[in-house]
């Protein structure tokens, strides 16, 4: 027995909503600020935004971004 037409529509809408939610989750994770430092010998460190060093690094990076400006016009 075929499903009722409104069920098909509901399934399709909820499918699109799930896709959109997953996209937003991925986008949020990708846009999260990060600060990674690498030292000799391959040692690497991540610094969270709420840590002291992380906060200072983001301020310093923000200044450099300002110095670089908006970038080139394509």
């Amino acid at each position: 027995m075929p499903p009722k037409p409104h069920r098909v529509l509901l399934d399709r809408v909820s499918g699109y909503a799930d896709e959109a939610a997953a996209y937003m989750r991925r986008r949020r994770a990708a846009r999260k600020p990060f600060a990674r430092l690498y030292y000799s010998g391959g040692r690497g460190e991540d610094h969270a935004t709420d840590s002291t060093a992380g906060g200072e690094l983001f301020v310093a990076a923000g200044r450099l971004i300002e110095v670089a400006g908006k970038g080139r016009k394509q």
Binding site: A30, R31, P33, F34, A35, R36, L37, Y38, Y39, S40, R43, E45, H47, A53, E56, L57, F58, A60, A61, G62, R63, L64, I65, V67, A68, G69, K70, G71, R72, Q74
Partner: protein
């Protein structure tokens, strides 16, 4: 006495050549990397050899970044990669030189670091056939992503 003046002239000429090479390398990098917003190359004493925009700001802000990064890890940092909402900052030290670059978000980190490292290696004279500094620069660089 004449020898001192000759040495001074040699040192000035060498400094000028170094700056010229750095400017050529930076121009090549800028042309080749569509994601790049601005960059600077710093010498051994932290002076700006080449930079897009205000050299004093690049010198001061790059020095601050390296100082914080050194302090955070307890040893001199080799590479720093910071991604903020407004853009990404790449900083690299190699052979006594340093390069700082600001790109759009989501620039390819490994490629950007590779380009910066190659540029510094060329400037430090570690490569026999420079990629960024050399006669091929005269021909004009090919922008990456032009599709041949």
């Amino acid at each position: 006495m004449v020898g001192i003046f000759t040495q001074m002239a040699d040192a000035q000429a060498s400094e000028g050549a170094k700056r010229q090479a750095a400017e050529a390398a930076l121009a090549y990098l800028t042309e080749m990397s569509p994601d790049l917003r601005g960059a600077a190359i710093l010498g051994r004493d932290g002076e700006v050899l080449a930079g897009s925009g205000d050299a004093d700001h690049w010198r001061d802000d790059a020095a601050t970044l390296f100082e914080i990064a050194d302090r955070a890890g307890g040893e001199p940092v080799e590479q720093a990669h910071i991604g903020a909402e407004q853009g990404e900052v790449f900083a690299l030290r190699h052979a006594g030189l340093a390069a700082v670059a600001v790109t759009e978000r989501f620039a390819l980190a490994s490629l950007t670091f590779f380009d910066l490292r190659t540029m510094l290696r060329d400037l430090a004279g570690e490569t026999s056939q420079p990629t960024f500094v050399g006669p091929e620069h005269v021909k004009g660089p090919q922008r990456r992503g032009d599709g041949g």
